[in-house]
């Protein structure tokens, strides 16, 4: 293949292609189009339940699928070995992978195996028009600044990206391009010293806030854990869920599955309401792609207002109940 090669290491859970795979394929397509490159998506699984052509519709020129029983549940050692084999053969310029627990486990080991660099949790990726290098931007040091990082010499240039950081392309009308291939993998690469013993699915503990249209989040400004009931009430009326800032989770007012931000979840709901959250970059990195952002804060200079479409500046203990009542009336009137 000619031009730069972009690889997306997709994620498959229980045979289904995880949405982050489409987000990264779309992003890789955009990057490849700036320099006449090609996009390959790689899927490791115990057996694909979804039609792999959907990825070809979202911008991949080629899909490589590897299916083996040992990959039916996440196995870091087998993944690293199989992917290292593929990447050594294909020698791509750029590798993108999800910053999920699996990606954040496989990728560092894979990068070390290939003797190259890796940038975690990128929120921005672009090609430098001058050098042709991938510019990898991520929040740094507690999320108060953004660092742009490059991998000048070593290849591939590797980056992980949190789910929902980029939007998946709308490919409902797109025609599939390219081909599906099944690379030959030497059987010994599927051998792993790590033995999977089982999986217990957790009951939902706020873990689904990434999939909701509305997220109502609270921070230190809520002052005490009980105040989160106000947010729950509002969230239920809007058909949404409750999120929390890192300080609120560290204070144990809400569980970790609710944490929005760099060190928690990245959410991209239609509507994001932030109450009593000042807006550290570490939080903003987790919600900046929301469709419409509402901020409730008493401090008119709080950074959260800079990323808000609508700001309500005042005492949240006064504003939230009024807002909830008004919406209750609106919903009830229908």
């Amino acid at each position: 293949m000619k031009g730069k090669q972009f690889f997306v290491l997709g994620e498959v859970r229980d045979g289904h292609i995880h949405s982050v795979t489409f987000e990264l394929t779309g992003k890789a397509r955009d990057l490849a189009d700036t320099c006449g490159g090609t996009v390959t998506a790689v899927l490791l699984s115990g057996g694909l339940a979804d039609d792999p052509e959907t990825l070809l519709r979202s911008g991949a020129d080629r899909l490589m699928t590897v299916e083996h029983p040992v990959l039916s549940m996440y196995n870091q050692e087998a993944e690293v070995k199989v992917l290292a084999h593929i990447l050594r053969q294909e020698r791509p310029d750029v590798v993108l992978a999800p910053a999920t627990t699996s990606g954040r486990t496989t990728l560092p080991a894979l990068a070390a195996e290939l003797e190259t660099g890796l940038t975690a949790d990128c929120t921005g990726l672009e090609m430098d028009p001058e050098t042709g290098l991938l510019l990898q931007t991520r929040p740094a040091i507690g999320g108060n600044v953004m660092a742009t990082i490059k991998t000048p010499v070593r290849r591939p240039q590797m980056a992980t990206v949190r789910p929902r950081t980029f939007r998946a392309p709308d490919c409902s009308n797109a025609l599939p391009r390219g081909e599906v291939t099944r690379p030959e993998i030497p059987p010994e690469l599927f051998e792993s010293r790590v033995v999977n013993l089982g999986f217990e699915r957790a009951e939902d503990g706020g873990s689904n806030i990434q999939d909701l249209d509305v997220v109502v989040s609270g921070g230190k400004g809520l002052k005490r854990p009980e105040s989160f009931r106000m947010l729950e009430e509002l969230a239920v009326l809007l058909g949404g869920g409750v999120g929390a800032s890192r300080p609120a989770v560290e204070a144990k007012w809400m569980g970790y599955p609710h944490q929005v931000g760099l060190s928690g979840k990245v959410v991209a709901p239609k509507v994001y309401i932030a109450a009593g959250i000042s807006g550290a970059v570490q939080h903003l990195a987790g919600m900046q792609t929301a469709g419409y952002v509402v901020a409730v804060n008493r401090d008119p200079d709080a950074s959260i207002f800079r990323v808000a479409d609508l700001g309500l500046c005042g005492d949240l203990f006064d504003i939230l109940p009024r807002l909830t009542e008004r919406i209750r009336k609106e919903v009830g009137a229908e």
């Binding site: 070390a112 309500l312 609106e330």
Partner: protein, 261 residues
């Protein structure tokens, strides 16, 4: 059972500055603590030592003052400390750091088990653990929230997005751990006394057998090219205290338009 715990000294607040020239952190003049998750790793090592006997060695790479972090671990009950400090390590990215730690683990070992926090509060990459494991050729696991000894290895529970994954890893192996694993104990007075008496060997680039091209800025695969203060911004319709009702009406109208209500 011989256990190594990899720790990092981190700033004790989010108020950190960057050197605009190198893009690396300015550590001088900052209060410093042991990275919280590394204390969970240390506690796990101490618990395993109580159950199975053995020795716990705490290893860190950092400036000379990082010996404070090692002392704290010794006062919690670790047996030995090792401080990797050398100008040649400065500016290391995660890969270059992992090369130093892997070399140190080889030198101080062999170990049955290597433990570390899942990530540090400053960099938040979570990469050094898996990278070190890869360089050591050890099986590894991450996000460990429970662990127990099993025949010839450990059984771990990994907390991942959709639940708990259970795995077995044979010794020697490397694990990165989460806060949920345990509650780190406080240093004891006797521990503090012992920590003061314990010699902490200093190791440099030569003594762990690395060359300058392998570590520090020169041995790093990545470069920070720019530090910026985020400019994400939207046009905000602001409603102050006197216009809250107006703001609420506007919001209701928007929510209706977006078919949220």
């Amino acid at each position: 059972m011989k256990i190594a715990v990899l720790i990092k000294q981190v700033p004790d607040s989010d108020d950190v500055r960057m050197d605009p020239e190198t893009g690396t952190m300015v550590r001088e003049g900052m209060g410093a603590i042991v990275n919280p998750l590394d204390l969970n790793a240390l506690q796990a090592a101490l618990d395993l030592r109580s159950a199975a006997g053995g020795e716990v060695t705490v290893i860190t790479m950092g400036p000379p003052r990082a010996h404070e972090a090692l002392r704290e671990c010794l006062s919690m009950g670790a047996d030995r400390g090792m401080l990797l400090t050398d100008r040649a390590f400065a500016g290391s990215d995660t890969w270059a750091t992992a090369k130093v730690l892997a070399a140190a683990v080889k030198k101080a070992g062999p170990f049955d088990l290597v433990l570390a926090g899942e990530k540090a509060t400053d960099g938040e990459t979570g990469q050094v653990g898996p990278e070190t494991a890869a360089l050591l050729g050890m099986p590894f696991s991450t996000y460990v929230s429970a662990l127990s000894l099993a025949d010839g290895g450990v059984e771990v529970a990994r907390t991942v997005e959709e639940g708990i994954q259970r795995q077995f890893l044979p010794f020697p192996c490397l694990l990165t751990v989460l806060h949920a694993l345990n509650e780190p104990s406080m240093p004891t007075l006797a521990g503090k006394k012992r920590a003061r008496r314990t010699e902490i060997p200093l190791e440099g680039i030569v003594s762990i057998g690395l060359s300058p091209e392998e570590t520090g800025l020169g041995g790093s695969a990545t470069r920070v090219v720019k530090i910026s203060y985020p400019t994400i911004s939207r046009t905000t319709e602001m409603f102050d205290e006197k216009r809250i009702d107006e703001g609420i009406e506007r919001l209701v109208a928007v929510l209706r338009d977006m078919a949220v209500i």
